[in-house]
Amino acid sequence: MPTVWVPSLLRPLCGGATTLQVEGQTLGEVLRAADARCPGFFERVVQDGAVRPELAVAINGQAENYPLHEPVGDSAEVAILPAIGGGGFSNFEPRERRPAGG
Amino acid sequence: MEAFEYIAPRTLAEAYQHLGNGKRTAMLAGGTDIIVQLREGRRSCDQVLDLKHIPELMALAFTSDGTLEIGAATPLADIYEDPEVARRLPGLVDAASLIGGIQIQGRATLGGNLCNASPAADSAPALIALAARLVIGSSAGTRELPVEEFFLGPGQNALQPGEILLQVKIPPQPPGSGACFLRFIPRNEMDIAVANAGVSIQLSDDRSRIERARVAVGAVAPTPLLVPAAADALVGQAPNAETLERAAQAAAEAATPITDMRGSAAQRRHLTRVMTLRALNGALQRATENR
């Protein structure tokens, strides 16, 4: 069961919980499982079928621009944090490469 | 940069002739101020007169009575690299070797620094302290002016239309006198002075009293300032700490500084006292040494 570190601003959705143990083999499934426990969670992290551009997700400490179909190991830790491109434009995702669908 | 004509007269007469042709003229010696001002549109002209090919303006020599005559277009590096100047006028060398980096000093001139008439001009306080006089020429002849009267306001000098600054004349410094020039800049090089001070004093034969003094400050008023009150606080007094402190305080009180990106008025007034005091100590040391 992967562990989700609940970002401070989303804890009110989860009754104040700081971590969640949820089911899921991919990032999308994990976020949906978290949403089931904390209504509105998925919407706050995902937009247009991808992680919001101002956010980044870290799986086992590796922060990247993961697609929602990124596999997540059973004992993985998932954290949600501000994107650190710095300078705004540099973590710029050209349109064609934006993944389709959740 | 707007277009202009370039003229390099070989004689003063030729220069005066071009000056009188009704076109807006910019004088070019070292060019380290004027070229940048033209490029940034802070000045514009129809013709540029390059003065560096007129022998009188490039000459550097001591006259028989010990007066140093410096052609207005002589590069600063020529001045401070001259061993005789360094021996007789270390205060002048202080100033000449501080203006801009080495690249600037190989081109920039005393004439250019004075004509640019920046309130912070690094050559001004030293020349005022040394009681320098300026020789100004035109097709009608020449006139002389004490250097402190050459500055009318920020960027404004006393040249009339058709006139050229020809020479800076520095009288011999009597035995027992010493001069020193210091400036404060945030970095150790390349900055415009936040405050600068030039002083010269002459000690009595027995070094017990100060017989003559001139104190000048810069960057703390619309023009570089000769401060008579500071000199009065020195003349006739024993060259001790209290005397120098009183003179430095007098210099600070004469300052009318402004606040801008380079410094605040309060900071400049404070620095005027500090830099004048340090320059006085430097001058005192030189005066006692060459007694």
Partner: protein, 160 residues
């Protein structure tokens, strides 16, 4: 705007070029003569990236009108090495990692060359004072000063 013909001695060769009076020596070196080794960093005399040697003295080429080069002797970075034989300073700058991006390096090498030609054994303060008109943002100056010191030592040994 009519152009003026200028004759000058550039890197040991007599050449002439046409230019407008408003063109700086930096602009002509780069855009007319194709000598792009002299770099523009600020175009107002504050960074030293356009340092050249003119009549034996270093100068910022951006603060010299090209027409002022008439009859002058000018050396740019392209004239420092002798064919493929690097000047000792060029060699020590490489050996001591005295450059990172390299845009300021031509200016530093000409400034340091003029210093060592004039004063064979300058101390660290003298080197730092002489090079204060050349800005570098990558190195923090440490390795540049050491490269100049090393070249100074090697050049003195070579003379002995």
């Amino acid at each position: 705007m009519p152009r003026t013909q200028v004759q000058t001695r550039l890197n040991g060769a007599d050449i002439d070029f046409l230019c407008e009076p408003r063109q700086s020596l930096l602009e002509v070196l780069r855009d007319e003569l194709g000598l792009t080794g002299t770099k523009e960093g600020c175009n107002n005399g504050n960074c030293g990236a356009c340092t050249v040697i003119m009549n034996g003295r270093i100068a910022n080429a951006c603060c010299v009108l090209a027409v002022e080069a008439e009859g002058a002797e000018v050396t740019t970075i392209e004239g420092v090495a002798r064919g493929d034989q690097l000047h000792p300073l060029q060699q020590t700058f490489l050996e001591e990692a005295a450059l990172q991006c390299g845009i300021c390096t031509p200016g530093f090498i000409l400034a340091a060359k003029a210093l060592l030609d004039k004063e064979p054994n300058p101390d660290e303060h003298r080197i730092r004072y002489w090079l204060a008109g050349n800005l570098c943002r990558c190195t923090g100056y440490d390795k540049i000063v050491k490269a100049v010191q090393k070249a100074s030592a090697e050049m003195q040994e070579a003379k002995v």
